[in-house]
Symmetry: C2
Subunit: 233 residues, 2 copies
């Protein structure tokens, strides 16, 4: 019998066993949504990079560089962190080196120990559920959060994923977020209007990004990490 | 305009400003429920003590010592961590030195910086709300959790408290737990059957403690920390 648990902040990762688990990294606004969208729109691979400097080194070396800090495109970068720019196969065939405030950090925390790393987004949640049902390992959902703090949209995804899987578990965070999703799931974007990160993005006029990141099952592909690079399964 | 935020684990306390705030420490199963019950039943004061050894030193020095680790009474202690033993004014007039797995640790983390420290429990939530409405400071709810992990019953109390206060806030954790309480509040004990800590207590045949800790407004008193000692307001 498999189980699922949720790590609600990267700062609590030491309280969870990572080894031998399938880890789903979630950063709904916007890193994981952008990763799924980019790869589903033909980007050949994404290299998650920890910091801006390291990412800059890839520029003009056969990579496009995508970087964001505090919700805004970093200076000198080809791309920010919006999923929308990847639509209509605009960057099809390109390789992207990407660094974000919270999302790439969450990946780096589990990279050495996880049995497999997948990227979670509402945009392909059903595909992810279907894939997880074919695997054998316990699942740990790691929420990217915001600078260490609990982020409701990431945790909400964990609740939605757990409800869809229907596995038994003893994780209070997962249990709480299942209840929130049962309450809010019918109108995610209305519920998340008040979320702290949504407000932050609204301040940058990124409402269309928010709306897009909360749309369910736009893609049927699953994203995973292979040899430090994100690809489609 | 005042605001409220929730620290969902003592391990995330460094992400929150404590200075100048009214801090409400919550450990529903069972430290904060026991503190409220004991003081409302005539205990003259409670000294929260960090560890078992330190607590033992108070024995036979005019104090009863209450100690629990992993849900069970510690060896050589007068009392465990059950609120029920204090009912019917059984320990009226006594001074209690108390140490618990998570609750007293949460108090010690905020003791130096908070403007005021209150103890939160469902047993006196309305009294606490009424008191907070008369104060001027922002409120930080600190959930004791379980060995650093998120605990649903503590976080649920934060949601209930915030709903009752009705203050505006930008705290995602508070927002999430408001939604859980709206979902679960009508039948707390049924909802919390599945909570990890409730299961832990059920294993020790402490169902009556759970039921009691989840009963609303048994007491009209508010508990606060004054010079390292818990007393009634």
């Amino acid at each position: 019998m498999r189980t699922i648990e949720t790590c609600i902040s990267p700062e609590l990762i030491h309280l969870h066993q990572i080894k031998g688990k399938t880890v789903v990294v979630v950063d709904i606004f916007r890193a994981s949504s952008t990763m799924v969208t980019a790869l589903a729109n033909g980007v050949s691979c994404i290299l998650p990079v920890k910091d801006l400097e390291q990412c800059r080194a890839y520029k003009n070396q056969g990579w496009k560089i995508a970087g964001e800090r505090n919700g805004q495109q970093a200076e000198g970068f080809d791309l920010g962190n919006s999923p929308l720019v990847y639509l209509n196969w605009q960057f099809s065939g390109e390789k992207i080196a990407m660094t974000t405030t919270n999302g790439t950090r969450a990946i780096s925390l589990v990279q050495n120990e996880a049995s497999e790393i997948l990227i979670g987004a509402f945009l392909n949640i059903t595909a992810l559920v279907n894939y997880l049902e074919t695997t054998q390992k316990d699942v740990l959902v790691v929420c990217a959060g915001w600078k260490g703090k609990f982020n409701i949209e990431d945790a909400l995804f964990a609740g939605a994923l757990s409800l869809a899987l229907g596995w038994e578990h003893e994780c209070d965070a997962t249990m709480a977020m299942e209840a929130v999703f049962q309450n809010a799931g019918r109108d995610l974007s209305n519920f998340l209007q008040k979320a702290s990160h949504a407000k932050r993005l609204q301040n940058h006029h990124l409402e269309r990004d928010i709306e897009f990141c909360l749309s369910l099952n736009q893609y049927e592909e699953v994203v995973f990490l292979e040899k430090n690079v994100l690809k489609l399964k």
